[in-house]
């Protein structure tokens, strides 16, 4: 399709999505599983509605107004719609395509450009950005602010947001992990470890556990220091160019490392890493490399399920339930593996919650940008979690962990949130 024949709102670069848009038969089945429709109850806040808006824009019937943009950013990208759609429409992908168009056609706030081009791709700057948070938490300032009610004096939204982040480690994982972690005992595999942003900065201790578990089970783990952000945050904000740039950077990095697999303990990094081949399929220089890379990306639970595991585990007597991260369950089809890992630990009583794969409402920065909507969705998840009477909610995504951690405090539950592999790591370590 040429520039002239392309529908008005969207450029030929994104043409496949217009055909997809037409594939929507408007049956409405997506409304039965969409969390935003469940909370808002209006057609405009549903996948069917969002696809209709995009179609109207593509046909020149709607402008890219402020309200239109707002609606495009209400989608959680949880993929529940794509899972049930009889026509195979990927409504969440179409929404991302719309965000790319919006980013290309409308002036973007300067801060956004700085964040996605200047900050996120640069690990040093990211660590510096998180440093004040680490200080705030470690020096007890956070505890003080919460206890004295200072946070309560802020506008409610900001006060809540300030309570959200988990206790960040003082040392980012990138600095703690050696470039190569040797295998314990016989070296059976050589794998790459993808640091990720949230995991390595905010959950460094848990993430270090991932590498320990790999080493214990015969893997030599290569952790390239220059790993950049996987690119999903940029993509989620419509910055396709930055996402592609980050993809190429990471592909080159791991190509040099010469590894059997690229392991990640973040559901989003894994999903997006597997998506690189789609992202770069039109790039003559990178198409093949991207395909090879994507085929090597594995979530930690996926990799562990494929190898014989050291079964010398200590007992942890605890009741555990599991929340399926959207990017792991729907994005990668991984649901059994994390559960199997949990059930492997002696002493663990595993209990399934109702609607385990219903989105937690975290959705990247959704909890910050759409606080109220995010909380409505979180409340549903917490009610389901509370009913299990579990001690621990396990979930393999840092954003889910942050959101669930916040949810536990908000609902005043006596539960802890952790990564399934962190629990496995704990079971491996001597008492």
């Amino acid at each position: 399709m040429t520039e002239e024949s392309a529908p008005k709102g969207f450029s030929p670069k994104r043409v496949p999505s217009y055909d997809e848009v037409l594939n929507c038969i408007r049956c409405g089945l997506c409304l039965s599983v969409c969390p935003t429709y469940r909370e808002a109850g209006t057609e405009t806040n549903s996948p069917r509605g969002r696809v209709a808006l995009i179609r109207a824009a593509a046909e020149g019937k709607l402008e890219l107004s402020h309200n239109f943009v707002d609606h495009m950013y209400r989608c959680l990208n949880c993929m529940a719609c794509a899972e049930v759609c009889p026509s195979g429409v990927q409504a969440h992908e179409i929404v991302l395509d719309a965000r790319v168009e919006i980013a290309n056609k409308l002036p973007q706030p300067a801060a956004k450009k700085w964040i996605f081009e200047g900050l996120v791709p640069n690990p040093n700057r990211m660590e510096a950005a998180v440093w004040p948070l680490r200080l705030y938490q470690r020096t007890g300032l956070r505890w003080l602010a919460e206890r004295t009610g200072v946070l309560g004096m802020l506008p409610h939204h900001l006060g809540e947001v300030a309570k959200m982040p988990p206790t960040a480690s003082m040392t980012p994982l990138r600095r703690k992990l050696p470039e190569v972690t040797p295998a314990q005992g016989e070296r059976k595999y050589r794998v790459g470890f993808f640091l990720g942003c949230a995991q390595s900065l905010l959950f460094a201790e848990n993430s270090a556990g991932t590498v320990r578990v790999l080493a214990r089970n015969g893997a030599e783990v290569v952790t390239p220091k220059d790993t950049a952000c996987c690119g999903m945050p940029a993509m989620a904000y419509g910055d396709l160019d930055t996402a592609m740039k980050l993809a190429r950077h990471n592909i080159d990095l791991f190509e040099k490392a010469g590894v059997d697999a690229v392991i990640t303990d973040c559901a989003t990094c894994g999903e997006f890493g597997k998506h690189y081949k789609e992202l770069l399929k039109h790039d003559p220089e990178y198409a093949e490399l991207a395909a090879a890379y994507s085929d090597r990306v594995k979530d930690i639970s996926q990799f562990l399920a494929e190898i014989p595991l050291d079964d010398r585990l200590n007992e942890i007597k605890v009741k555990v339930t599991y929340h399926d991260p959207c990017h792991l369950a729907r994005g990668q089809g991984i649901t059994a593996q994390p559960r199997d890992l949990l059930k492997m630990i002696p002493g663990v009583e595993f209990v399934e919650m109702k609607e385990p794969n219903w989105c937690c409402g975290g959705a990247g920065t959704y909890m910050l940008t759409h606080y109220e909507g995010s909380m409505n969705i979180l409340d549903r998840k917490m009610a389901n979690a509370a009913n299990t009477e579990a001690d621990i909610i396990a979930s393999g995504c840092p954003v889910c962990q942050m959101q669930l951690g916040y949810g536990v405090r908000r609902a005043k539950l006596r539960m802890k949130v952790t990564h399934p592999v962190a629990l496995l790591d704990q079971a491996y370590r001597p008492r």
């Binding site: 055909d19 037409l22 594939n23 038969i25 408007r26 049956c27 409405g28 089945l29 409304l31 039965s32 109850g41 209006t42 057609e43 405009t44 549903s46 069917r48 509605g49 209709a52 808006l53 109207a56 019937k61 709607l62 107004s65 309200n67 239109f68 609606h71 009889p86 026509s87 195979g88």
Partner: protein, 469 residues
């Protein structure tokens, strides 16, 4: 365009957050699941209770705007498309199951209750609300009542109308009317309850629904049967009924559909078979066993090429997958899907299917036919591309002939999807003048200002032959 004063008044009634007027909202409420139809409304309101609904309708009568009631907008006949503009009234804020009466076996529900939520609530206590339209996980009870929704279980258990025994309705002039009640028998006055069911939002806005419930069947068995000829399948259907067995499910897939489904679910379906039947029997375990045995005997007597039987509930699901995948499978083949539901008496199923196949060949369009063979409610599904105008003209001709064929065989235009906009023009063919005159008279009597869902069911367009209207 609605005047500002009307918008102000609507906002006063439902609250600011329940009045939607942005262009983006109007786009989204301008269509339903019917292909090719759409028109933006002037505004959307979401009432929270009967009082709100009544106030809005009264305002509409006074200020001359139209009101289009809507549940989840999943109907297939354009029933919720605001074809003359006006205000779409979305009912899903009123979504409580108000009462389940286990002594009288009834339930009061608000119109916005999602049908499968009602199923779950009553089945949890051993009760059963049989109507199971394909849209049940998203369609609402109000919508089901307005369209008299059917479903796979229709043959044995009946349709929505058979289970609605009482209503609270806001009439087109704004008064609140209560009909029916919990008694099994009630012959007081005209049966206004049943009149409202299937009235497609043209005679009243449903604000409360009283349904009767039955005990949940204890067990069920599922069978998947393949036939080399259409006749054998059709005769099996008649024969099963003749043996006094009424299965809750007796579904049919033609050869085109079997091929679509195989492309989608890869279940090694035999692709050369002309027909596939999905048969379910239910009831107490001993009855299920003997019914299933009899059914299989009948299938074999009619040259069934292959029979698969479920041993467990998981098996049941697996076997039903073929039939339940028919719609998704067909949807993936082409961008546009025109799903019709011309229905014929059971004895005419085979001739109807053959005629559909001939019509498809004649107009060179792809038609997959599947549906509820047990009650003759077939779904000829035309797979096409709405961007190809030439092809769509041939599709329209084919649909026209399908309607005429169904009527000629003693059938009806619509078994369960409703008339709405898409079949309005064919109403007179079936109702004839006497029927249309009576229909229009009722509409005019109840809705003198033509406020509710105008332009549907041919009500505005019908002209009686002879002098004047």
């Amino acid at each position: 365009m609605l005047e500002q004063s009307i918008l102000v008044e609507l906002e006063r009634i439902v609250g600011k957050e329940n009045l939607l007027c942005t262009k983006e909202d109007l786009v989204c409420y301008g269509f339903d699941a019917t292909p090719r139809l759409g028109r933006w409304p002037d505004a959307v309101v979401r009432p929270g209770n009967t009082r709100d609904v009544s106030a809005i309708i009264q305002l509409a009568n006074g200020d001359g705007f139209k009101v289009i009631p809507r549940g989840a907008g999943t109907n297939l006949s354009g029933g919720t498309v605001p074809i003359q503009g006006g205000v779409v009234m979305q009912m899903n804020r009123m979504n409580r199951i108000q009462e389940i009466d286990t002594e009288n076996l009834t339930a009061w529900v608000e119109p916005g209750v999602v049908t499968s939520d009602l199923h779950a609530a009553v089945e949890a206590i051993g009760l059963f609300y049989p109507p199971d339209p394909g849209s049940m996980t998203v369609s609402t009870m109000g919508g089901n009542v307005a369209e008299n929704a059917g479903g796979l279980r229709g043959l044995k258990y009946g349709v929505t109308r058979d289970y609605v025994i009482g209503l609270e309705v806001v009439l087109p002039t704004g008064e609140v009317m209560n009909t029916g009640g919990k008694t099994i028998k009630n012959v007081t006055g005209y049966d206004l309850t049943k009149l409202m069911v299937g009235s497609e939002g043209t005679l009243g806005v449903i604000t409360r629904i009283l349904v009767k419930l039955i005990p949940k069947p204890e067990a069920k068995k599922t069978m998947l049967v393949f036939y080399r000829t259409l006749n054998d399948a059709a005769e099996t259907v008649s024969s099963i009924i003749a043996h006094r067995i009424i299965p809750p499910t007796l579904e049919f897939l033609d050869n085109v559909t079997i091929n679509c489904v195989e492309q989608y679910i890869h279940a090694n379906l035999p692709l050369e078979m002309e027909a596939m039947l999905l048969i379910e029997v239910d009831g107490p375990p001993s009855v299920v066993e003997s019914d299933a045995a009899k059914v299989m005997q009948v299938c074999r007597e009619h040259n069934a090429a292959e029979i698969q039987v479920s041993a467990t509930p998981e098996d049941s699901l697996r076997l039903s997958l073929g039939r339940r995948s028919a719609l998704p499978a067909c949807a993936r083949l082409k961008p546009t899907m025109v799903l019709e539901d011309a229905t014929v008496p059971r004895s005419q199923v085979a001739p109807m299917v053959r005629q559909i196949q001939e019509i498809a060949k004649k107009h060179d369009v792809l038609i997959a036919t599947f549906g509820h063979a047990g009650d003759g409610n077939l779904h000829p599904t035309i797979l096409c591309d709405e961007r190809d105008h030439e092809q769509m003209e041939r599709v329209d001709l084919a649909v026209d002939e399908i309607f005429k064929a169904a009527l000629a065989l003693g059938g009806t235009l619509s078994g369960e999807h409703g008339i709405g906009l898409s079949k309005a023009a064919f109403m007179t063919m079936e109702m004839k003048d006497a029927g249309m005159k009576a229909t229009v008279a009722i509409k005019r009597a109840l809705d003198p200002n033509n406020v509710l869902n105008p332009g549907k069911m041919y009500l505005d367009d019908y002209r009686a032959p002879g002098a004047g209207n």
